[in-house]
Symmetry: C2
């Protein structure tokens, strides 16, 4: 166990936004919320799964919707508390801890915020090791853990509690409701015992996020190339450097969908990149050839600072680096891969792990 | 208190379908379900509100969706039981009785079905005295009774429990989910104490439905004109007799919407009628002039037998009588009228009580 203080939040938020693969929302807002909550209520204990009892119950929280919307509609935080309490009341037993369901600038931070407000520990693991756009897209689903009971709540005070026969059905119902909630809400879901999570969850994500954030911060301080330092630290691959020449983005069916076009520079001069996203970055093509796909992580970084750029922040003229990071190995097992395969998202391409593409 | 036996169900189902104003679903299916349940589990006690204690809790049940769909997707009944039990579990106290939320061939009968299966009394009242298409359209809403906690369940086993800040929000969320449920599901909602219902509900609807059914049955047996007998018994007005010349019907946004055109015969020769519906009949125009509108009841009856024709059964060539019946007086109070005014449904016309139209 260690305590998370205000000082830890900056690195976690930035690092989680790298892992978020363009999704999980902008780290800036999450950072402010969590720092304020820690200032007010004190530091938050971060436990590893091994430090908890096998039958302890963990209740993850997250935000849902189109990240684009959060930029204009800041979350007050009461919606997350309401969702969490409703799930706890329904479960009929207290939660020992909370955790994040996906890595991302906001969705790694929301559990820390709830931890501070409710005096609850956070577990150092998550359900994706990155971010994905749909509810059922977790390695927990592949291990048979139910997203139900699932709670969603908006800032008005509406609370919906769903028990569905599959995690895909939760996605269907909740997606159609979140649109009516203004494309953003708080959710509590996938409650599971520590024993289940030891089997299924991706461990150490908060600590990994913090390391990524620290790597970037220190590289900048020592005037080393932060993009290169990051790739070295986490086994990432530089796919591209260049300038964003066009962004097509729209809120469709409760998601932020679209694509960004880039024109290469330096070693990538004369190359054209196309990045497709649905809340998260899904596939990258250079001159029409796939070069990285889901479930491997695709991050867009500011060319100078290596600060992660989420999908809602992509805009014309930005100079960026695009990197790919091998996904957690759990995603490469068949049951998990089927949930997030490029073909699931409509791309007619096999999944080839990014490190294999770069080996050849 | 009196007991409802199989023999009572036929009259209730037919009479309730008249009150249903084209909605509340086909009486035939409901009749079969309730008769089978009574045969298996015994008769169902029907109580008036006065026979219950003021703090007894009543939990209504109903079906939701596009009635058109029920003709092809028969309800098994387990979805209603699931919805009812979920609401009871959430309320944390047992229900003393159930009741119907709207009058209609199915929706007057579903509570009797649940009563038989669960050994639970039914209260002789409802929330509309007719049927209306949207969740918030009850006189209960006008009296401040919440439709939340609201439960919806489909035949797959999905269960959604909603607590919304208004009954209109329940409509919004549940309507978007029922579409994913194949446009049909069971709901439990508007739980209220007997004291609240004495204030707000429309009393005696089951008994009124049974009287209407009996009137029609006896008129047919004695070879009297059943349409005239019905109008006399309940103060209805004959608007039209004729033949259906066209029906335009589609399932839109979880509703069966459309209109039927008719050509008059006999005293109505050379007149053209247009009947608009959204699950229920909303307005009738003859030669372009409004002649009856919501919230007054508009019923289409088979010209010979006076059997009610629900919106999903309207078809080309049918010979029908169209009648209007003054709505329950509760609907004419401003707060209630605003919920179901012709203008709410997009018709630019004032509401004039049908008996005033016919007085002039």
């Amino acid at each position: 166990m260690r305590l998370l203080y205000e000082a830890n939040i900056e690195d976690i938020a930035i690092g989680a936004a790298v892992l978020g693969s363009g999704g999980g929302s902008d780290p800036y807002i999450g950072k402010l919320m969590a720092r304020e909550a820690i200032r007010q209520f004190g530091p938050v204990p971060l436990y590893s799964l091994e430090e908890l009892a096998d039958d302890d119950l963990v209740m993850p929280v997250a935000g849902m919707g189109a990240p684009t919307v959060l930029r204009e509609k800041l979350p007050a935080g009461d919606d997350i508390v309401r969702a969490f309490h409703t799930l706890a009341k329904y479960a009929g037993r207290g939660a020992r801890a909370t955790m994040s369901i996906e890595a991302g600038g906001m969705n790694s931070i929301r559990p820390i915020y709830i931890g501070a407000r409710l005096g609850l520990p956070v577990v150092d693991c998550d359900g994706m090791g990155r971010a994905f756009p749909e509810i059922q897209m977790t390695v927990l689903t592949a291990h048979g853990i139910s997203a139900s009971p699932f709670v969603m709540s908006d800032e008005r005070g509406n609370v919906l509690l769903m028990n569905a026969v599959s995690n895909r059905w939760i996605e269907t119902f909740s997606r159609s409701c979140v649109m009516h909630m203004g494309a953003t809400c708080a959710i509590a879901l996938y409650s599971a015992t520590v024993a289940q999570l030891k089997e299924a969850a991706i461990p150490g994500t908060i600590t990994l996020a913090e390391e990524i954030g620290r790597t970037l911060r220190q590289a900048r301080r020592h005037e080393r190339n932060p993009v290169a330092a990051l790739c070295q630290a986490i086994g990432g691959f530089l796919l591209f450097r260049g300038k964003i020449t066009d962004v097509d983005r729209r809120v469709v069916a409760g998601f932020a969908r679209g694509d960004a076009r880039m024109r290469g520079s330096g070693a990538f001069a004369d190359q054209d990149l196309r990045l497709d996203f649905q809340n998260e970055h899904l596939v990258v093509r250079i001159d029409g050839e796939y070069i990285a796909t889901t479930p491997d992580l695709i991050a867009v970084l500011d060319s100078e600072t290596a600060n992660p750029v989420t999908t809602e922040s992509l805009r014309y003229g930005m100079r960026v680096a695009v990197i790919a990071i091998p996904c957690a190995p759990q995603w490469r097992e068949p049951a998990a891969l089927a949930l997030v395969h490029p073909r699931y998202f409509g791309y007619d391409v096999d999944y080839i792990p990014v490190e294999e593409r770069f080996r050849s």
